[in-house]
């Protein structure tokens, strides 16, 4: 029982982190109908900036963090303005999405080269203490991840539903043409979406590399990639879905790892494939994802 409870807490914490990355993918999809495959590389890039500012240049975490977040946000906006914006007029969303794959490959290759075989830490303030409650022990960093992610998710939802900008973004997602006629500047909406997505990815990256993970190395990108099944499970056009999808992916991963000895027939390390299996199952039942709206066409 205690084992299950501690796995649930850990799964929720990891899931909230995935939700942050998936949310970025969803926001970009809603504002420009492009699936951003470069999201894992934005995460790697921003986290690398933070980690290298701390580990290699000796800056304090509180300086390094905004640097990393800003770097990823600026890079994301550049990708949008310079590369993806070109496809907006022709609505060639598949081509634009394939282009983000190219961006991802270039960026990851360069970040990987810089990281090399090092393991960089970000100097985050959570340390490696373990908190005990209800008979279970959970790493402090995991609690911090859960709390901070939940806070960011709530703030984001409030922003999307209460602020003028949120209204503009939802209007754009509903019908870009009408939104544009109402005076909403589509370019600005999508640039903001990309900036937010970049910033969220770095916040998530910070928690992925925090304790008990040893730090930032090249294996983190495979973890970051699991945000894609999270976004698809929830439905690409639903922010609520991104949160649900993130949680499901995090829980499935932690539970499969925790009950590994009972699942031995599936082979060792099945937790890395589990989110993808879950995605296939969800897509078979609901092709638009759990919260996605199925596209209907009227002729």
């Amino acid at each position: 029982m205690a084992q299950l409870l501690s796995m649930l807490v850990e799964g929720a914490s990891l899931g909230a982190v995935y939700a942050l990355v998936a949310l970025g993918i969803v926001v970009i999809y809603k504002s420009s109908s492009v699936v951003n495959f470069a999201q894992p590389s934005l995460l790697m890039f921003g986290t690398y900036v933070t980690a290298s500012a701390y580990s290699l240049h000796g800056l304090s975490f509180w300086v390094a963090l905004p640097l990393g977040v800003a770097a990823a946000a600026v890079l994301a906006v550049l990708v949008d303005r310079v590369l993806v914006a070109r496809f907006r007029r022709t609505q060639a969303v598949v081509a634009a999405s394939i282009m983000t794959i190219g961006v991802d490959v270039v960026l990851l290759t360069e970040v990987d080269r810089r990281i090399g075989s090092q393991i960089l830490t970000t100097g985050d303030p959570w340390g490696n203490e373990v908190v005990r409650f209800l008979g279970i022990g959970v790493a402090e960093a995991r609690i911090a991840a859960l709390v901070v992610s939940a806070l960011l998710l709530v703030l984001f939802q409030l922003w999307l539903h209460r602020s003028d900008f949120g209204v503009a973004m939802r209007a754009t997602a509903e019908d870009p043409e009408t939104a544009s006629l109402m005076g909403i500047r589509l370019g600005r909406v999508s640039a903001t979406a990309w900036a937010v997505a970049g910033a969220l990815a770095v916040c998530a990256g910070l928690f992925i590399v925090a304790y008990p993970s040893p730090g930032l190395d090249t294996s983190v990108e495979a973890v970051a990639l699991r945000a894609l099944p999270a976004a698809i499970i929830g439905g690409l056009d639903s922010t609520t879905g991104a949160i649900a999808g993130g949680l499901l992916v995090g829980l499935s991963e932690v539970l499969v790892r925790g009950y590994g000895e009972h699942l031995a027939f599936l082979g060792q390390g099945f937790e890395e494939a589990a989110p993808y299996v879950l995605m296939l199952v969800v897509l078979l039942a609901r092709p638009a994802g759990l919260f996605g709206i199925r596209e209907a066409v009227r002729v």
């Binding site: 699936v35 590369l83 070109r86 060639a92 969303v93 598949v94 081509a95 634009a96 999405s97 394939i98 282009m99 794959i101 190219g102 961006v103 991802d104 490959v105 270039v106 960026l107 290759t109 360069e110 080269r113 090399g116 990639l225 894609l228 099944p229 976004a231 698809i232 690409l236 082979g267 060792q268 390390g269 099945f270 890395e272 494939a273 993808y276 299996v277 995605m279 296939l280 897509l283 078979l284 092709p287 066409v297 002729v299």
Partner: protein
């Protein structure tokens, strides 16, 4: 309208006029190369031809139907490991059926097709990018199986690939001795000719399919799903047909790659391999058969060429191994995907069109021709 039809038919005729002599010259050159080139270049060619078969399959799906798939490496692996499983004799620690190798190769390709068909509940229903993300699942599940199903795949260390022989004729080997114009046909030469022959056959088949009713249905779906459905095209069925066809091509390429490698290891068939095939298709111009083959030649040869000439390129060889051939190759594929989509989405195919236009003598345009209404 009428004028547009006229010009396009004139262009088509110009295309045909060039196509035949170009194909004949290219064919003669390709057949003659093994008489002069050494092993390195022949192996380079064999791998490029095998990869081109896979690239043509992916091109049909991505360029002609508008469906994105990142699972190509999975179907390549099904072909490769399927062949190994079917043709190896069973032993204590590994499974095998011990079929005759030619039958094993054919069944392995069919297995890849079946795997593609089994995915059709999703391949038929999901559209474009959605399918791209869903197909990611196959790569990761495939990688998991390749690393853990040791009796089948040999696990981390991989498995040897049995030779392909028809009777006593080793298709990729040395027995019986053959020679052409005094040049002995050994492994490398045979590899070149066999992969080239299979590439030629599969290319012709692809062109025939794309020109048929099926190919027109593909294009209709790509250009407008709703319109296609209104014209009576069964969208879901044709999408899964295209997905299955592309997995058959991938399976065939996988079998050939395995035979050329002689030993396969699981880490080769990862997500990055899928991205390489995507790069081949994008570099070739997405919808062109010839483009996909050219893209495959470029992408598959690049790392080998960089490896061979890295000492000659400043900053790459020697102590600064940081910028190794793998790094440069990856940056180049990724960069080319971005740049080609940005500047010339028709890729290498557009270059060929331009070259043809430049070489075709232009007739002076009559002064009284006004723009069509």
């Amino acid at each position: 309208m009428f004028k547009a039809a006229l010009t396009s038919s004139k262009q088509a005729r110009a295309g045909v006029r060039w196509r035949v002599p170009v194909a004949v010259v290219a064919g003669v050159v390709l057949l003659a190369i093994p008489l002069y080139a050494d092993r390195f270049w022949l192996n380079l060619g064999s791998f490029a031809f095998a990869a081109a078969i896979g690239a043509v399959g992916l091109m049909i799906l991505v360029g002609r139907v508008g469906q994105l798939s990142l699972a190509h490496s999975f179907f390549l692996a099904v072909g490769a490991y399927g062949y190994i499983w079917l043709s190896s004799p069973a032993t204590e620690e590994s499974w095998g059926l011990g079929l005759p190798s030619l039958a094993a190769a054919v069944v392995a390709v069919a297995l890849a097709g079946l795997a593609g068909l089994a995915f059709s509940p999703l391949a038929g229903r999901l559209k474009g990018i959605y399918l791209g993300v869903a197909s990611l699942a196959l790569v990761f599940i495939g990688q998991h199986v390749l690393f853990t199903a040791e009796p089948l795949t040999g696990g981390y260390n991989g498995r040897n690939v049995p030779e392909l022989s028809i009777g006593s004729f080793q298709v990729f080997g040395v027995e019986p001795e053959l020679s052409l114009f005094g040049v002995p046909l050994r492994q490398a030469e045979r590899g070149w000719y066999v992969t080239l022959l299979i590439l030629a056959l599969t290319t012709v088949f692809a062109v025939l399919v794309l020109r048929s009713r099926v190919g027109r249905a593909f294009a209709a779906i790509r250009d407008g799903e709703v319109h296609a459905a209104a014209l009576g095209v069964r969208v879901a069925r044709y999408r899964s047909v295209a997905f299955t066809l592309s997995s058959v091509y991938a399976g065939l390429a996988g079998v050939l790659l395995a035979l050329l490698f002689e030993r396969v290891v699981p880490e080769y068939w990862d997500l990055f391999l899928s991205l390489e095939y995507l790069a081949m298709v994008v570099i070739g111009g997405q919808a062109s058969v010839a483009g996909a083959i050219a893209g495959a030649a470029f992408v598959s040869s690049l790392p080998l060429l960089l490896q061979r000439y890295s000492d000659a390129i400043p900053g790459m060889g020697g102590a600064v191994s940081n910028f190794g051939p793998a790094y440069v190759a990856q940056i180049l594929y990724g960069g080319m995907i971005v740049l080609i989509l940005f500047y010339e989405p028709k890729g290498l195919a557009a270059l060929a069109t331009r070259a043809r236009k430049a070489l075709t003598p232009r007739r002076p345009v009559a002064a009284d021709r006004t723009p069509a209404a």
